[in-house]
Amino acid sequence: MRPFAYTKVETLAEAVDALAAAGPQARLLAGGTTLYDLMKLEIETPSAVVDVHRVADLAGFDTSGDRELVFGAGARMADVAEDGRLRRDYPALSESLWRAASQQLRNMATLGGNLLQRTRCPYFRGGEPFACNKRSPGSGCAAQEGLDRSNALFGGSEACIAVYPGDWATALVAFDAEVDVHGPGGARSLPLARLHREPGDTPQHEHNLAPGEIITRVRVPVTPAGRGSAYLKIRDRESYAFALVSAAVALTLDGDGRVDECRIAVGGVATRPWRVPAAEQALRGNAITEASARAAGEAAFTGARPGRANAFKIELGTRTVADAVRLAGSRAVG
C-alpha cells in the first residue's frame, strides 16, 4: 500500500470540494470493501482518499413513494436488503443484495460503492506478471488465452473480456433505474444502463462519470412488475461467491395469464449490466410455460461469444433465465 492523503467529509458539498481539490488521482471511499482491497493489491494507488461514509446527504433510502423508490448512495447493502417493503414488492432487488458477498461485507458496503465495484478477473487482481489492459493499458489481456471461466460472453472486446460482477446493478438495469450524480458542474441524472461502459479499446475507463462526480442516489420507477420479480444467482458455493450466471426477471401477467410487462437482465456473463430485450420480447404476450421460459432463456443468450472455459454458461444461463421467469411468474400470480 502506498501513502495517501485521507480526508473525512460530512456533507455532499464538502465531498465535491474535497474531490475537486484533490485532483484526478483522488478516490471516494464509502464502505471500502472494494477500494481498500485494491489499494492493498496496489491496483488502485490513489494520491488522496475522500471518505464519505458519514455524509448524511447520501445515507438512507425510501421505498414508500408512489412514483419511485429512492436509495441513497451511502445506504448499506444489508439495511436495504432487509427492508420489508422491498422484500415484498421488489424481491429481485432485495435478493440481488442479500445474495451478494457476505453478511460482514454487506454491513460495510454501500449501494453507490457497489455500483462502481471493479471486476474480479483474476489476471486483473493478480497484478504482476499478468498482462492486463485494464490494469496496465497496452500490456495485453491474459484472460483471452487463459483461464477464462469467469470472463464475459457479452460486451467484450479484443482488449478486455472482464465481467462486471455486481448483482445489484444487474437487477437495477432491469428496472430502468436512474442514477443521480453531483459534481463540480452541479447535479445531473443518467440511466443506470448508461453508467457503465463496455471495454472497447479503453478497458481502464469503466464508467461515464465525469471527474469529481459523486453518485448521490439511485431511483427506481414504481412498477407492478416488482411483485412478480426474482433474482436467481448460480454460483460455486451457496454464499460468499460471485455469480457464474444470474438472472433478474420482473413481469406482470394480464387477465389471461399472459406476460404483459417484462424485464429481464443477466449477470456474471457481460462486461456491464446486461439487459436482454430479445428475451423480453420472446416472452411478452405468452403464457409462462416450460417452452416459453426456455425460449426467453435462449433469446437471452443468442449472440454469446464464449471463450475457452465459459461456454457452459450459455446452457446454464439459458436455464437460469428460464427458472427465474417461472419463479417471477409464480410470484406475479400470487
Binding site: 501513502p3 483474476p122 493478480g126 506478471p129 491474459a142 487463459g146 458455493r237 454464499s239 446452457e315
Partner: protein, 738 residues
C-alpha cells in the same frame, strides 16, 4: 465408548480451552507484540523458472521506516534445512534468498523489515527484479514433466511397489472389469491462522514463536541452518490455528527472520499473506490414478491394480503412499501398486489432511462403485461381501477392524434400505434428482516416541508437560480428560503445556498419531505418579493430601514411550527432531482406523447445482478419547471432503505457473450454507492390542472416502460417472439435456 476399568468419575468432556479461544485470550504466535518489534514482508518472483539477472532493492530500502532488505545479494550465512521427507527438517530443501535461481513462481526473492507493517508492505512491492526466464512445467500434462519410478529413485522398503500375488493375471482372467482413471487437483489447506512467526534472540539463544505441528523440526532445522547448537533454540507454540499438514516442518522464512533479528537486535515478526501462502509452503499435489479392478462371476473382487503419479518439485521428492490403504480396504488377494513421481516447477508439495488416503480412496472407492454396478449389486452389500479380517498385504490379522459394523450401523442410520439401485431413479418433491452414495476409508495407525512430565502440586493441581502440539484437534482436552478420569479430579485442575521445546522433545504431531502417542506417554507417567504417591494403580486420588503426605511441595513423574517395536535408537532419532514413525504393520498385526460414509446429494434438475443435505459417518478409531472433539474432527473431515469433491482446486495457468486463485474468495472452500446435517457415530471398541488406552487415530481417517461417497451419490443421482475432482456445475450440466 467403553472406558477403562479405572474410569470411575464422569468428567466434563467439553473443550478445556474453548473459552480462551472464543474470547481471543489464547495468544497465537503472531498475536505477540514484544517491545521493539519490527515487521517483515516478502517480495516474490513473478516468473515460472529461471534466474534473477538483476535485483534492485534501492527503492525498497529508501521507503521511510525500512530497516533491512535481505536477498541473495547479501550472501546470507544460511544452510539448507533439508527436506522433511528427505532426512531433513524443511518444508522443502530449497532455501530461497541464497542464490539467483528461481525454481517456481511465487518464490521469495527478498525479505523486507521495517518499523511498521505498512512500510514493509510498500517496500516489498518496490523490490524490482529483472529475470532470465527458462521453460517450465506446472501441471501433470505440461511438456517437460520428468517421470520417475518411486522405488527406482528411492529404494526404501516403505516406498516399494506393492506386489501381492499376481494381479495382472488375476485381472486378465476376471469375469468383470473396471479400468478407469481418476484425477485429483492440487489443493491448499488454507488454515485460518496464516503462516507466520515472531522471532527474537535472548543472548545466544534464538526464541521462535510459530504456530506449528513440529516445534522439534524447527528447533533442529534452525540449528542446522544457522550452524548453532540446538540447545540454543527455543520453539514455543502453545496454539496452532489449524495445521492440516501445512505446518509440519520448518518453513522457509524462519531462518532469514532469525538473521534479520540478529542483525537488528530486535524481535521480528512475519505473517505470510493469504495470497502468498499459495506459493510459500506446501500443498496437496495433483495426482492421477489408474485403477483396474477385477471380480469373479459371484461379485468377489479378485484383482486390483492401482497405478498413480503425483506432482513433486524439481528439488524434492515428496513420496507417494497411496496404495498403502487401497491394498487394505478389501480382501483382494492379488494386488499390484505402482507409484511414480512427476517432477515439475513448483514449490515442494507435502502433507495435506489425509494426504494420500483422500485421493486414493476417491479413485479406488469410485472404481469399486463402478464394479458394483457392473455386477448389478447394491454398493453397500458389495462392499460387505468383500470384507476381510486379515491384512492381505502382510497376511497378519488387523488388531481391530470394525469396518463392516461401520457400514451396517451407518446404513441403518442413513436409511439405506430405501435406496433404489437404478441411477436417476429417485426424486425429491421439488423435482431434484436424489443420489445416495457410500464409500469407506482407512488410515494407517502409528505411534511415535513421546514423553510426558507430570507435576502433582500440594494445591491438588496436576501440571502436564508433554511432547505434542495443539492445532485445533483438542489435544489439551484429550489429555485433561485422561488425567481427570484417571485420578478422579476435575479437568480444570489439570494445567497442560504443549508444543514447547523447553519442556519436552517436540516430535511432529500429524498423521493422527498425536493422540495415541501423547496419551500413551501421559498414561505411563500417570502410572509412575501413582507409584510416587504410593497410591493403587486405579481409583480416585486426593491429590492434595497425597502430595502433602509425602512431605514435599510437589511430586513429579516422567515417562518416555515408544511405538510398538521401537527401540532406544528410535527415541534418539526423534530427539533430533526427525519423524520417527512406527506402523501400520507391527509384529504380529496391522493397525488401521476405518470409516464408512453415506452421502445424500440433490442435483437441481435445471441448473444442476449439487447440494449435500446430509451425511452419515461411522468411524472405528478404537476408544474415543474425547467425544466432543472427536465428533468435531469427523464433522470437519466431512466438510473437507465435501469441499474437495465439489469445490476446491488450485487453478494453474500453464503459461505462468504457480496458482492463480490465491485468495479465499477465489479458492472456494465450503461455507456453512453448503453444509447440511452431519450425523457422526463411533464404534468405540478400544484397540488394546495396539495401544494401552485403546485409541487409534481419527483426524485423518474422517476425511477419507467422503469424496468418493459424494461422487458415487452424484452418479446415483444422474447416471453419469465423474472421475475428476472437483465435480462442478459444468460437469454435471454437460451430462443433462434441456
Amino acid at each position: 465408548m467403553s472406558p477403562e476399568p479405572q474410569d470411575t468419575q464422569p468428567v466434563d468432556t467439553r473443550r478445556v480451552d474453548a473459552r480462551e479461544k472464543v474470547t481471543g485470550a489464547a495468544l497465537y504466535a503472531t498475536d505477540l507484540h514484544p517491545d521493539q518489534l519490527a515487521h517483515a514482508t516478502l517480495a516474490t518472483a513473478t516468473i515460472g523458472r529461471g534466474r534473477i539477472a538483476e535485483l534492485d532493492v534501492s527503492a525498497a530500502a529508501a521507503v521511510p521506516g525500512v530497516l533491512l532488505v535481505l536477498s541473495h545479494l547479501d550472501h546470507l550465512d544460511l544452510q539448507s534445512p533439508g527436506f522433511v521427507m528427505g532426512g531433513g527438517y524443511g518444508v522443502q530443501s530449497l532455501q530461497p534468498l541464497l542464490d539467483d535461481r528461481i525454481a517456481y513462481r511465487g518464490q521469495a526473492i527478498a525479505l523486507v523489515v521495517a518499523e511498521t507493517l505498512t512500510a514493509a508492505t510498500e517496500a516489498a512491492n518496490l523490490v524490482r527484479a529483472r529475470y532470465e526466464t527458462e521453460p517450465f512445467a506446472a501441471t501433470l500434462d505440461s511438456p517437460g514433466v520428468e517421470r520417475l519410478s518411486q522405488p527406482a529413485t528411492i529404494p526404501l522398503p516403505f516406498l516399494a511397489d506393492l506386489d501381492v500375488g499376481d494381479a495382472e493375471s488375476a485381472y486378465a482372467t476376471a469375469a468383470l472389469h473396471v479400468d478407469a482413471t481418476y484425477d485429483q487437483p492440487a489443493q491448499h489447506q488454507n488454515p485460518m491462522e496464516l503462516i507466520g512467526a515472531t522471532v527474537s534472540w535472548r543472548g545466544d539463544t534464538l526464541v521462535v514463536h510459530e504456530g506449528t505441528q513440529n516445534a522439534g523440526a524447527i528447533r533442529h532445522g534452525l540449528a542446522q541452518q544457522l550452524g548453532i547448537d540446538a540447545a540454543n533454540v527455543e520453539v514455543i507454540s502453545p496454539y496452532t490455528g489449524g495445521g492440516f499438514g501445512q505446518k509440519n516442518s520448518l518453513q522457509i522464512h524462519i531462518g532469514p527472520l532469525a538473521l534479520a533479528a540478529r542483525r537488528l537486535g530486535r524481535p521480528v515478526k512475519l505473517v505470510v499473506s493469504r495470497a502468498q501462502l499459495f506459493h510459500h509452503t506446501s500443498f496437496r499435489p495433483a495426482s492421477r490414478h489408474r485403477i483396474r479392478l477385477g471380480a469373479d462371476e459371484h461379485g468377489r473382487m479378485v484383482a486390483a491394480i492401482h497405478e498413480v503419479e503425483h506432482q513433486t518439485s524439481r528439488h524434492d521428492l515428496f513420496p507417494l503412499m497411496y496404495t498403502e490403504i487401497t491394498s487394505r480396504l478389501y480382501g483382494i488377494r492379488d494386488f499390484r501398486g505402482r507409484q511414480t513421481f512427476a517432477r515439475m516447477d513448483t514449490q515442494s508439495p507435502g502433507f495435506m489432511r489425509a494426504p494420500f488416503e483422500h485421493p486414493a480412496a476417491f479413485a479406488f472407492e469410485s472404481a469399486v462403485d463402478e464394479l458394483a454396478y457392473a455386477a448389478h449389486r447394491d454398493p453397500l452389500e458389495f462392499r460387505l461381501a468383500n470384507d476381510t479380517t486379515v491384512d492381505p498385504v502382510s497376511g497378519e490379522p488387523f488388531s481391530s477392524r470394525h469396518l463392516a459394523q461401520c457400514l451396517r450401523r451407518g446404513a441403518k442410520r442413513f436409511g439405506w434400505s430405501a435406496r433404489q439401485q437404478r441411477p436417476a431413479s429417485m426424486r425429491a418433491e421439488d423435482g431434484s434428482l436424489v443420489g445416495w452414495g457410500v464409500a469407506v476409508g482407512a488410515y494407517p495407525a502409528s505411534i511415535v516416541p513421546s514423553a510426558a512430565h507430570l507435576v502433582a502440586g500440594a494445591d491438588g493441581r496436576i501440571r502436564v508437560e508433554v511432547d505434542g502440539h495443539e492445532m485445533g484437534q483438542g489435544i489439551r482436552s484429550t489429555i485433561a480428560i485422561l488425567v481427570a478420569e484417571n485420578l478422579g479430579i476435575g479437568v480444570h485442575d489439570v494445567d497442560i503445556v504443549v508444543g514447547d521445546t523447553r519442556v519436552a522433545t517436540q516430535h511432529l504431531t500429524a498423521g493422527s498419531w498425536g493422540t495415541a502417542s501423547t496419551l500413551g506417554a501421559v498414561h505411563a507417567a500417570l502410572r509412575a505418579l501413582r507409584e510416587q504417591l504410593g497410591m493403587d494403580t486405579r481409583g480416585p486420588v486426593d491429590v492434595a493430601s497425597a502430595v502433602r503426605a509425602t512431605g514435599r511441595d510437589q511430586v513429579e513423574a516422567r515417562a518416555e514411550t515408544l511405538g510398538p517395536g521401537q527401540t532406544e535408537q528410535d527415541a534418539e532419532h526423534a530427539r533430533k527432531g526427525l519423524p520417527t514413525l512406527s506402523g501400520p504393520e507391527f509384529p504380529g498385526y496391522s493397525t488401521f482406523s476405518w470409516i464408512a460414509h453415506f452421502v445424500e446429494v440433490r442435483v437441481e434438475p435445471t441448473t444442476c447445482r449439487i447440494r449435500v443435505p446430509r451425511v452419515v459417518s461411522v468411524a472405528d478409531c478404537g476408544r474415543v478419547a474425547s467425544p466432543v472433539t472427536a465428533a468435531s474432527q469427523v464433522r470437519g473431515g466431512i466438510v473437507w471432503g465435501i469441499g474437495a469433491s465439489l469445490r476446491e482446486a488450485g487453478a494453474v495457468d500453464p503459461r505462468y505457473g504457480g496458482f492463480l486463485n490465491n485468495s479465499l474468495e477465489e479458492y472456494p472452500v465450503p461455507v456453512n450454507a453448503d453444509i447440511g446435517t452431519l450425523d457422526v457415530d463411533f464404534i468405540g471398541e478400544p484397540d488394546l492390542r495396539f495401544h494401552p488406552v485403546g485409541v487409534k487415530g481419527l483426524g485423518e481417517v474422517s476425511m477419507v472416502g467422503v469424496a468418493a461417497a459424494v461422487a458415487n451419490a452424484v452418479f446415483h443421482a444422474t447416471g453419469v460417472r465423474h472421475r475428476r475432482l472437483p465435480i462442478r456445475i459444468e460437469d454435471v450440466l454437460a451430462g443433462t439435456t434441456a
